[in-house]
């Protein structure tokens, strides 16, 4: 009897899939809900609409790798965000798991939350491929799956990210502005983790703007988005090339600036990430002529992903790929306690807020929070 019961449920569930008439969002045309916050990636992006359902909802965050500041900050932001009264009232149950770098474990965790009857699952995908099965399952069970940050190479799910190409272009535009009339010289480019789409896109965006603008010799080194590595490769590059006219760093900016100062390299414009350390340096050495712009991939993105999942569950029309505004500040805008924090450590990411989306959790608020008091 029990087995027959087993069979029936499976047969019902599987039967739907076999005929490929699975549920999931309906493809609709734009414009979407709250475009200030959920901006479509471009004009060609499609729109999804799920059937509206009664709250409160069950939401899960399935993180992959955990162990760097960015990810920890992301998790803390997620927890702080769902505690805000306005969001808390929409959420019945909230869980965060980290599955490590193992794709099978991440797929398993997502599938488990689908089976547990969660309504929305946000995730940082371990791999840009391989999620077809869970997407199929999520659609069949009407679960809103939202990959963000490391997104998937598919247009079948709603995703949230900052435009990495545009970030690269911003590096390029700002440096050109700073260089004024100078249209030739040597530029150092410190790249990120090889083989990663973020690294590729920032690089391409930068080159797209920068290269045609003048006669540049661009020296490329690999800094792995890490302070220590970036410092070492920058020091090596300065030792070999003596002088650069500008520097662009994808991550580990604090290390690059340190190497530049240590080598007694003249102060040249630097375009870098949003690490607190870099911003502290911009404030401290601003008088000595250090100029820089700090542009960041925000861990606060998780809050937008959660918010997007909730909006979708309310039956709103949502863009398939949501582009977030890219938070940035240059050396003239450094304000202690506002966009950088002199008494906090170097390696957390200063940008965490997205005012158009009502995400107003600042970085120190999060890092100060004891993991224990947010449950």
């Amino acid at each position: 009897m029990l087995k027959a019961g087993f069979f029936l449920t499976t047969a019902l569930a599987m039967g739907v899939a076999a005929t490929t008439a699975f549920a999931g969002p309906e493809k609709v045309s734009g414009p979407g809900h709250d475009p200030e916050c959920f901006a479509p990636w471009n004009d060609e992006i499609g729109y999804f609409q799920w059937e509206a359902r009664e709250g409160p909802h069950k939401i899960a965050v399935v993180n992959g790798f955990v162990g760097n500041t960015w990810r920890i900050q992301m998790i803390q932001t997620a927890k702080a965000f769902v505690e805000q009264p306005e969001i808390a009232s929409q959420i019945e149950d909230f869980k965060v798991v980290s599955t490590g770098t193992d794709v099978a474990a991440q797929l398993g965790a997502i599938e488990d939350f689908i089976n547990q009857g969660y309504d929305g699952i946000v995730t940082i995908a371990v791999s840009p491929e391989g999620f077809d099965r869970v997407i199929r399952l999520a659609d069949r069970n009407d679960v809103v799956l939202v990959p963000f940050d490391n997104v998937l190479d598919t247009d079948k799910v709603m995703q949230v990210n900052e435009d990495q190409l545009e970030m690269g272009r911003m590096y390029g535009r700002w440096l050109l502005e700073q260089l004024g009339d100078k249209r030739s010289g040597k530029v150092l480019e410190v790249r990120g983790l090889q083989g990663n789409s973020v690294d590729r896109d920032r690089h391409l965006g930068f080159r797209e703007v920068f290269e045609p603008a003048g006669d540049w010799e661009i020296v490329e080194v690999v800094g792995n988005w890490d302070d220590g590595t970036a410092q070492k490769v920058t020091a090596d590059a300065i030792a070999v090339h003596n002088n650069f006219d500008a520097i662009v760093v994808q991550g580990g900016t604090t290390g690059t600036v340190r190497a530049m100062l240590d080598a007694g390299h003249p102060m040249v414009p630097i375009a870098g990430e949003s690490e607190n350390g870099f911003r502290k340096q911009l404030a401290e050495y601003g008088d000595d002529g250090l100029k820089g712009i700090s542009i960041g991939q925000s861990p606060g993105m998780v809050a937008i992903a959660i918010k997007a999942a909730l909006a979708a569950l309310d039956g709103n029309v949502m863009p398939q790929l949501i582009s977030l505004p890219i938070p940035h500040a240059d050396y003239t805008e450094m304000e202690a306690g506002k966009n950088y924090w002199p008494d906090l450590t170097d390696n957390f990411f200063t940008v965490n807020e997205f005012p158009p989306c009502g995400v107003n959790i600042t970085a120190p608020e999060i890092m100060a929070k004891d993991a224990e008091d947010v449950k």
């Binding site: 998790i75 965060v96 794709v103 398993g108 599938e111 491929e129």
Partner: protein, 346 residues
């Protein structure tokens, strides 16, 4: 009676592992809103399959008294290879399976030859070959991608009913006699088949027993006239084959190949943990690949519970480590009953 006692004592490691697994898994299912449902079994067996295979692969080297650091790399290499080969006509797909399995076995064979003829310690030999295999995997798939037959990857990661329904067996899976088994997860069935059809015959063959003998005392095995070299090469080849099966399954599960270096490393380390939890001695000569399957199950089941209970996400690795340590310590409980201190060294 006497006989039963001896058998129990000989299999204490694996029995402890089974006990721990059953405890954890029943606990997980009781607390899961849809516990004991086929969908949960399917999901869990999907998640465990690749690790179970890689753990079986690791067992081969451990039984010899060594460690194989290339199992994750072989899995990754076959994963990348399979992401090209598991499409097309049925004949092409079958050929693809054979090529992938052969590739895994060939990697293992290479390991075995280097260990035997190069006279290099397995841990060092496989460190090197692992890097080579990852290199080939990266060459095959510089960026993640690939293409796998949709139906195939769907049915292999579901229950038996789905196979019948998709390919039109047994009245599309509706045949009355088929119903009692239709809910059974395909990956679980495959694990059982591989264990029964590959591991059991091997472990009972002369070559298999020679592997145990080498692990217990290589000198004694040699003096007894056993074919040591052949057994070592066979063990590594079988290990490569198991790791390759894991890679094939990962491909079916993800419909893609990914030369992910951290992931390969994670699988290698987890495989060693699974082997130890499964009651196989790192000194060699004691244990079985079936124990390692349960070791893999235990490893996975610990993290299953994070999805049910409120455990702070940043505390999860700590919690996992503590439970793991407790599980491994249970395996070492025999030490308390040792009468002769010299037994501690065995």
């Amino acid at each position: 009676m006497e006989n039963l006692q001896i058998r129990l004592r000989q299999n204490a490691g694996i029995l402890t592992a089974i006990g721990i697994f059953v405890l954890f898994y029943v606990f997980y299912n009781f607390n899961h809103p849809r516990g004991f449902a086929p969908a949960i079994f399917i999901q869990n067996s999907n998640e465990v399959f690749t690790l179970a295979m890689v753990a079986m692969a690791q067992t081969m080297a451990v039984l010899l008294g060594g460690l194989d650091l290339s199992v994750g790399a072989i899995m990754t290499l076959v994963n990348c290879l399979a992401s090209y080969l598991l499409v097309g006509s049925p004949l092409q797909i079958i050929l693809g399976f054979i090529v992938c399995m052969a590739a895994g076995a060939a990697c293992g064979f290479l390991n075995g030859c280097i260990v035997v003829y190069g006279r290099i310690q397995p841990i060092i030999a496989t460190l090197a070959t692992g890097a080579i295999f990852i290199g080939i995997a990266l060459f095959l798939r510089p960026s993640p991608g690939g293409n796998v037959d949709d139906d195939l990857s769907w049915v292999m990661t579901n229950d038996l009913y789905e196979i019948a329904a998709t390919y039109g067996f047994f009245d599309d899976g509706e045949a009355a006699w088929f119903q009692p088994i239709a809910w059974f997860p395909v990956p679980l069935l495959l694990i059982i088949l591989i264990a029964v059809l590959v591991w059991v015959p091997f472990s009972r063959s002369v070559t298999g027993r020679t592997v145990y003998a080498i692990g217990s005392g290589e000198g004694a095995a040699y003096m007894s006239g056993l074919a040591i070299n052949r057994a070592k090469i066979a063990a590594f080849t079988l290990g490569g084959f198991f790791a390759g099966l894991g890679g094939i399954y990962l491909t079916l599960q993800t419909s893609s190949g990914n030369a992910d270096i951290p992931q390969a490393g994670a699988y290698t380390l987890n495989s060693i943990a699974a082997v130890v939890i499964g009651g196989t001695s790192l000194l060699g000569g004691i244990g079985s690949a079936i124990g390692s399957i349960f070791g893999a199950l235990i490893l996975r089941t610990i993290s299953f519970n994070f999805r049910i209970f409120e455990i702070d996400p940043l505390m999860q690795p700590l919690f996992e480590g503590v439970v793991l340590l407790a599980a491994v310590s249970l395996g070492a409980i025999r030490v308390l009953r040792v009468k002769n201190t010299l037994d501690l060294f065995r």
